[in-house]
Every structure is written in C-alpha cells, then in structure tokens.
Symmetry: C2
Subunit: 485 residues, 2 copies
C-alpha cells in the first residue's frame, strides 16, 4: 500500500462522515454505549449502532452488522470482546470501511497463547481488504475540527495547533485533560494502543503534513522496529517541535510496557541518544510534557537571550530572587546583567529599600502601583538582552494585603503588556488557599495567551526545553556554521 | 551569654505574654498597623501600639515609647524606617524587653555605606542590654500554640509538629501557605532575615529540644561562619529529620543572596557535601520542600521495602503503570515482585483483561466495585515485601464515567484502609478540570491523614527523600555494622 493512500486513510479517519459503533447496547455501562453517547454529543455526521440483538439503541436505529447499514460507513469503533474480532473485521471489510478503531483489549499485550496470532490475522484481513486498524487496546482518535470526540468519555478539547500521539490511552487522557486545564488547544489526538497496523510513525507522518498541527507531543513505549519512527521524528523537527515522553525506560517499566501494549520498549540509552539526535525534546513525565507543550503554544519563538525573573509585587521577593537564580541557572537559562540604562530607569520607578534592582529583580511593593509596574515592565522589555520575562507571584500573599480589585489591576497590566509587546512572557503563580480567586486569575492570564505555571521549577524546565528547540532551529536556519544569536 | 539563657529567650519570644508594635498608626496600609491587626485577630495576651504622635490606634491606647508602657513587655515588633533603629532598640533595652523582631529593612543587605555598621551597633546595644534581635529585614516568628500569628498578613496555620526556619520571609510565607493548602500543621516558624543576632543555628538549637517539633524544614542562604549550623544539623538529624532548601547555590543566586539578606552564600559543593554528611535531606525548590515535609508528616516511618504503585480504577491504567515504573526506578525506590500468593489472590478479585496483575498494578475497572478494591488493597498490604502503596488517580476520567457518589465510595475505601492498616499510603491525584470535586476529595484524603500529590514525579521524589532519612535512622539504630531491613 503506498504512503499517499495511507495518509488519505488517516485523514478520513480524523474527518469521517459516518461512524458505526459495534457493541453499543441498551446497557448504559458498556463502553460501546458510552462511545455512542459521546458521538451523539459531539459528532455532526451519521451515527450507526451495530448490535444483532437490538433494533434500536439510544434513539437510533441499530443494525445487525456493519454490512447491513444501507449507507457508506467511513469509520467503525469496535467495543466487543476479543473473541469475535475476526467476524467484525470481516464485516467491516465487506462494507468497504476505511478505518477500524478497536477499543477491545486482550490481544498481543495479554501475553496469552494465541492472541498475538489473532492480532496478526486481524491486521492481515483488514489490510488485504483495504482497511486500516487503529489499536487494538486503545482509545482511538480525536479531532476537534472534525467534531470527533475523544474516548468513551467524550472529551472534546478546544481546537488549536497541538497534536498528541500516544501509545497509551490513559496517558493521552491525562495529557488532554491537564492540557485543557492549562488552556492547551488541540488539532488531533491519536491513542493507538498496540499499534498493530497504524502506529506512531504513521500518525507522525500524517501530522508532518497536517496544516492544523504546529506542535507535536508523543507518548511512546516502543515498537518492534523503531527506525521508521526515529527517521520521521528527524524529518518533522526542522519544521515542528516534537516533545516526547518515553515510557518503559526502566527495567520494570519495560516489563510493564509489554503487558500494556505488547511493545518492546528497547534500551534507555538507545532511545535517549536517538531522540537527541532527532532534535526531539524529551520530557520525563506528564507534568513536564504539559508544561513544555504549553510553553511552545504560548511563548512563540524564543531566542538565545536570557530570562528576567521578576518577584516581589508586595515585597518579600528576595527569597524568590535567590531561588529563581538557582533554578534558572540549573536549567541552563542565562540571566543577563541589566544595562546601566535599564538600572537607572528602574531606580526612578521603584524605591530602593525592600527591592533588588538587579536581575533577577525584586520589584518590592510595586504591586500597589500598577502604573509603576507597567512602566518597569516596559523598561525590562526595552533592555536588548531580555529574552523572556517571568513574573513570580504568590496570590495568597497578595490577597492578604490587597483587595481582589487591586490584584485584578495588577493582572490587567500583565495582559496589557502581553498584547502590546512581542516579548515572551510567563507567570508563575504558586498554589493558593484562595482557589477561586486563583482560578479567575489563571483563566484571565490564559485568555491573554500568557502561560501560567504553579512553580518556578516547572516554568524554568519548560522554558529551557523550548529554548533548546529554538536554538536548534536558529542554527539550522543560519546554516551549520552560523553564529548563534 | 550562655546557651540556656538564649534558649529561654527564644522560648519566651515564641510564647510572649505581651507584645508592643512600634510603628502602628492610623494609616491602615503601614506594615506596623497590619502587624497590630494581625495580633488583634489572633494573640491572646496584651498588645501595645507604640507611636509618639497618636494617643490611640485601632481601639487600643498608644504609647509614645516602649519604656512608657506601664506593664512588662516581652516581645517588640519594629516596623519603622531604619534611621531610628538605635533609638528604638535603646528604648526596648531600657524597658527590659527580651526579644525584638525588626521587620524594617535596609541594613547590611542594602550594600550601602554605613548600614552594615548600624546593624552591628544595634546588635551590640541589644545584647549588652540583655535583649535578643530577630532580623532585621524579616517576618519574625509564628507559633500556633502561643497564638502568635505570622507576619503582617496574620497567617495562622494549624498547630502540629512541623517547624520551619527561614532566612527569607517570602519563602517562609510561600512554604507556610502551600503547607496549609497541603494540610501541613506547624509547631513554630522563624523567618530571621539578616540573622544579625539570632540565626538559623540558634533556632535549630531551640527546635532540637522543642517537644512540639518532630520535623524541621529550613530555607538557608548562608552565613559568615556556617560551622555552628552544620554542627547543629548533625546533632538534630539523629532524632528529627531536617529538610533543607539552600538558596544562592548558583553564582547569580549567590549575588542575590547578598542583596537579599547580606549573606555569604558559600560554595555549592561545600554546602551539598556538608548537608549530606549531616544527614539533612536537601531539596531543590519550595515544591519539593512542601512535598517532602508532607510525606514526613503523613507517612510515618518508612522501611527499606519497596513501593506498589496502583493505577487503573477505571481501566486505562497501563500507561501510568509504565510511567510509574520509570519514575520510581529513577528515584531509586524498588518495586518488589509480588509473591505467587499475592498474584493468585489478586487474580481472584480482579478480572484479567484490561488489568495488569503485577507490580506496578493496573487494577482495571475495579473502581466500580469498591468492595473488590478494598479486598485488593488488603492483599497488597499483606504481601511481606510491600513498603508503601501509592494510588494513581485521574479524577476527570473517573467522573466522566462514575457519579460523584461512586467516586466518594472509592475514597471511603482509601480512608478506611488508612485507618485500619499501619501500611504507609499515598495518593497521586492529577490536576482536574473538576476543581471543586478535586478539592472535596483532597480535603477528605487529607483529613484521613493520607498525603496527596498532584503528580507521580512529585510523590516519588518525596517518598525517596523520606526513605533516605529512615534508612539513615535504621542504620544508626542498628549500629553502624547493622544489616538493613
């Protein structure tokens, strides 16, 4: 089967016009029924429940088989026990279905005799019949612009430029949900489980050309042959960042990966080296994955210039200045020395006692004078060595002295700055007892396209990851001998 | 001045019977006034505003000087500009005050000519007069059982067994507030700023003997001579864990530390080695500090046995099984292999398809059968190799399929397990869109003394830190040649 055909098949799986659900029934707790409800809530095309024992499900006419559906069917979701899988795939092939998403589990990942062979047989049957298989043992696809919701839970993220390809449904849901919470917006999600037919490399090839996708996140456990995947990552990174969480790097994780998706996780050292050579950004957990993708989405292109952490607002920023120096330095992010001009300008705006007018900056109690804060931020942004400004806030502390109205005024300054200046800008907002107020502030900052992190460590790690990628792009675009700027 | 006298002076500063506030006024935005209000809200003893220009402040009679107060005064909070500090300290000494907390800043940390000398002069004057100085440039003391609130914001944590000693007020507030949010309960907090007289070593000496305190956290930037501090840490760790966040390890942080508290931060290598030799647990940020102290407070004594991460509840736990293997392995926490008996028992409780009945465990969709979940947890706790159980949950995922009532039922199982078994037990609850429901669940788990972490990474790091400490204690108690268990 040639590559273009495959990419067309994937495209039509993300944008189907009609979907059948095999295994939807009157039992509200069955996964098939949950998938059906999820589609009913979001999908705009035709939906067909398939169940030989029922004439209707959830207000829709049911069919005894896919073949019996009197209209074309693009995409089939299968949520029946593994024993009947060959019958179902045969049924789909006879109907001319393009893509079959097999939610059902218990195949090669079970380690039980016969089920590895069953998986292989099922794939051959589908491929010979011109259909592609997503799974088995997976949550399948999601595409906000195609109105295709994610999983039996019917998660529908906002449409955007982040794609996620995952060997694990659980990790995909964890990432998509924490992404939604962090205001990450999605183009496509593919949780491909055992990857018996379409796998990580196939989806990555599709995303490379996908006009919607500008940032790719991946959770990978391994494959029989990883070379096609590494080759594709190398092809994608010169145009789109690829952020990878690799599961199964430890020996125990390796065993787990086999039980989970039947994958051969492979050597830790090989993976780390291959990802590095391919200029992928490797992350160590779902948290760092979310933080890094958010930074890619919100910060824009980061140059080689350094960071200006800015603490204080209420005073008492000194400890945060010291800590932020340590953390940014540890992450390899330079903290440029202010020019004499910048220092002089700051001294005119901010009183000297209770502040530290160097980089990192403790702006003292300037939070009570939003206009001075705005002025100080302009001065920082005008310094030719500033690459990114990172504000460090502790909301409870602010609220203990300021009214919520004056806290809002501070955040209007931030939103205004973000709108006016192209300077990359992030906010660290430590967890607060005032959860409701924190939610409001985080929501406002997110709407203003400002990434918010709950700790300095996490912000610095994400910024370092994004800087690393753009340094590669800078060098690439200037030619291998070019000077860094 | 002998040591016992010093410890008595510190004790009376944490438990004063009367407090004067120098610098309280009719201006509601002055820090002196905020300190006064904070005391009025919490302190049960006598409170005296001192202000030569006013006869009354906030409904209390004001006095022109401390000396003019017609009753004994134990503790004085000074929030007037630095220029008048010698007059104020002289006034306190004449009155026979035992401890003076100087909130005012602009002394040795300013780097300005003359203010270093002023600080020294002030200390000599106090010491010769029999008074101790806390600060300058600091938030001072807090003691829930002494009804002494923290800082001008009047923070009053719940009373408990965690003490915190900090060179930075900002870090102390950040830690105390995130501690309160995480249900950390406090014995004493001391933010000593420049530490011109009483410093980290003095407070640590006090806490060593303090009956309330079982766990000590510290934020340190440095000192002229760190040997007394290292010596004290070595003395405390055999009886109480000491968790240290060291600020100013980077060169930039080092410069910041001087501007912040006038401290000589010292070499990174020397500090790391000294803390390690003293068996302190070094952490890298406020987040890890909070996580680790919480684990010390809630988990009890951890032995050398390994961890059993348990994912699933709704199914889809496979990715978390793989990731948790990687993360626990990275942190050096063993994942013991289940005994044959444990495996067989689990197989009787949990269906095999969609679950992974090895360690780490994916319990499949057992969340819908709380009684089976309870049974499975008993089996895990009965395995002789289990040292701690760590449940990994994604609330949004649970809520998409379960009602809040059945989610509550799952958490009743956890609370019941914690009550019945002495087995250390922690929960990882990833951030959720359902913030309100998450708050409720976290609150319930905290009340049941179960530590809750927002990510696997953070849980594993905290558990690894706590294990490291108890390993030292095990070895110590068995004699240096003793076998580990």
């Amino acid at each position: 089967m040639d590559d273009n055909k495959k990419l067309e098949q994937i495209e039509s799986a993300f944008y189907p016009e009609s979907i059948a659900v095999v295994g939807a029934s009157a039992d509200e707790h069955k996964f098939g029924t949950l998938f059906l409800h999820s589609l009913q809530a979001h999908f705009k095309g035709r939906i067909y429940p398939v169940n030989p024992n029922q004439t209707g499900v959830a207000g829709l006419q049911a069919y005894p088989s896919v073949e019996a559906i009197p209209h074309p069917v693009d995409y089939v979701i299968v949520a029946t026990p593994r024993g009947s899988i060959l019958d179902t795939v045969g049924d789909c092939v006879r109907k001319g279905v393009k893509a079959i998403h097999i939610f059902s589990a218990g195949f090669s990942e079970s380690g039980e005799g016969g089920y590895q062979e069953l998986e292989r047989e099922m794939v051959s049957m589908a491929q010979e019949g011109g259909a592609r298989i997503i799974g088995p043992n997976c949550l399948g696809l999601c595409c906000p612009t195609g109105n295709l919701p994610f999983g039996p839970e019917g998660i529908m993220p906002k449409s955007g430029k982040v794609a996620f390809v995952s060997q694990s449904g659980g990790i995909a849901v964890a990432f998509v949900l924490s992404g939604i919470a962090a205001d990450i917006r999605f183009s496509k999600v593919a949780a491909f489980g055992n990857g018996s037919d379409l796998d990580g490399a196939d989806f990555l090839e599709y995303l490379k050309a996908d006009g919607e996708t500008e940032i790719v996140g991946m959770y990978l456990e391994g494959a029989q042959d990883c070379r096609p995947l590494f080759k594709l990552i190398r092809e994608v990174t010169p145009v789109k960042p690829v952020v990878v969480l690799k599961g199964g790097k430890s020996e125990a994780g390796n065993r787990g990966a086999f039980s989970h998706t039947g994958a051969i996780a492979g050597s830790k050292v090989v993976w780390e080296a291959a990802l590095k050579q391919a200029h992928a950004i490797e992350v160590q957990g779902v948290e760092e994955l979310t933080d890094t993708v958010l930074a890619f989405q919100q910060l824009g292109r980061l140059g080689a210039k350094g960071a200006v952490p800015m603490a204080g607002l209420l005073g008492a920023g000194g400890g945060m200045v010291v800590t932020s120096s340590d953390i940014f330095t540890r992450e390899g992010i330079p903290l440029p020395v202010f020019s004499r001009e910048t220092e002089e300008k700051l001294r005119k705006i901010i009183p000297q006692v209770g502040s530290i007018l160097r980089n990192p900056l403790d702006v003292g109690a300037v939070g009570s004078r939003p206009e001075a804060l705005a002025e100080a931020m302009e001065v920082l942004a005008d310094d030719p060595e500033t690459g990114i400004i990172v504000v460090i806030e502790m909301l409870d502390q602010l609220l203990l002295v300021h009214s919520m109205e004056s806290v809002r005024a501070i955040h209007r300054v931030f939103a205004g700055f973000r709108e006016k200046r192209s300077m990359p800008f992030a906010v660290v907002l430590y967890p607060a007892l005032a959860e409701k107020e924190r939610s409001e502030i985080v929501g406002g900052l997110s709407r203003a396209q400002i990434p918010v992190y709950p700790s300095l460590d996490r912000a610095a790690r994400a910024i370092a990851n994004v800087r690393r990628y753009w340094k590669f792009r800078d060098e690439l675009e200037e030619g291998s001998g070019g000077a860094r700027r």
